[in-house]
Symmetry: C2
Subunit: 230 residues, 2 copies
Amino acid sequence: MSRLDALVFDAYGTLFNVHSVIARCEEFFPGKGQALSQLWRSKQLEYTWLRSLMGRYVDFDRVTADGLKHACQALGLACTAQAQTHLSQAYRTLQPFDDALAALRALSAMDPRPKMAILSNGAPEMLNAVVTHNQLDTVLDHVLSVDEVGIFKPDPRVYQLAVDRLQVASHRIGFVSSNGWDAAGAKAFGFTVFWVNRANAPVEELGVAPDHVLGSLGELPDLLADRSNF
Amino acid sequence: MSRLDALVFDAYGTLFNVHSVIARCEEFFPGKGQALSQLWRSKQLEYTWLRSLMGRYVDFDRVTADGLKHACQALGLACTAQAQTHLSQAYRTLQPFDDALAALRALSAMDPRPKMAILSNGAPEMLNAVVTHNQLDTVLDHVLSVDEVGIFKPDPRVYQLAVDRLQVASHRIGFVSSNGWDAAGAKAFGFTVFWVNRANAPVEELGVAPDHVLGSLGELPDLLADRSNF
């Protein structure tokens, strides 16, 4: 296998835990935080796929707010303007997964150092906010948003954006995602794909399989350091 | 509002109850029928959207089998080849909703009679099987499958297929679906949309709203017969 010249990371669900909003949800809707967070995330993703297919792109900030609105209605929760604002803001201060920061620092210290980037559905402003909040701006060379191409993952135009902006061929880009469907989309596009399967979920049946399956991001530095693999 | 020259129906979830497979699921996985049916349906839909965006269309028969496989694995159920075959076959003998057959017959008896069609994600063979099983071939003029255009709903090319094959302008086609996202896709395309909201669900937040919301398909004949509406 050829050497990887760049590592491109998914953000939401891979580096940042979208369910770290549960505590905020609990403040507004006691006892319903987990159910709300799960349905909110489901709807948010559904809406990215549906709007992409409909040709009706709006940015992830809007899709996130729309998903929250629907999830609250479906659960019979009265989502005030205040709750809507506070919860949508929570996406700007998501917590990282326990294994994320140390892994990124270790990867950043490799010699030769690969280019490092985020490629995310997030709108530029909300993405920059969560990256800065977690002090990741120092280890990342690029923070790329689908907003530049006006469609969401897994449309191939999104993955092509990383090739164009990093100026690295697709098979020499290692793409890292915890979202099984994103890993499949990236593999179909031509990246070398690392699926971080923290939840030990079955692979998505989308006709392609990731190149590597990891139990945590913490396994990635050693895997890459072993030159027999790359 | 202009008169409607054609009525185009979604099939799965609108005319035919996808959860009528629960009894079959129970035969193979006692106590798990409902959970399996729900996750199966969710994955089936997800895979139609994801494969469409990835540019990796396979027909609905395959997507249905893939969704079942993933759902079984996620629920820890051992899906034998026999179970897989029997359950996938169940989509060929889905039961109609209680309100569906009488409504279709009443609509078919209207004067002037609108053209009547199904426009579905279903593969042609599985779609024809469930239509014939429910003796709907006599009231439908067309059974249209997305397979002709090689992409799933809500891509606009799917809805355009009805315009092309029925030779009726989009705004003179009444599109009937119980799937809120399908109703949104059809409205974005330009149909006059009837959302049959049997479950009293909140509207999908996709930037468009259906023209009419019905509690059951049984309300459609009277609504259309009242010429003040159309």
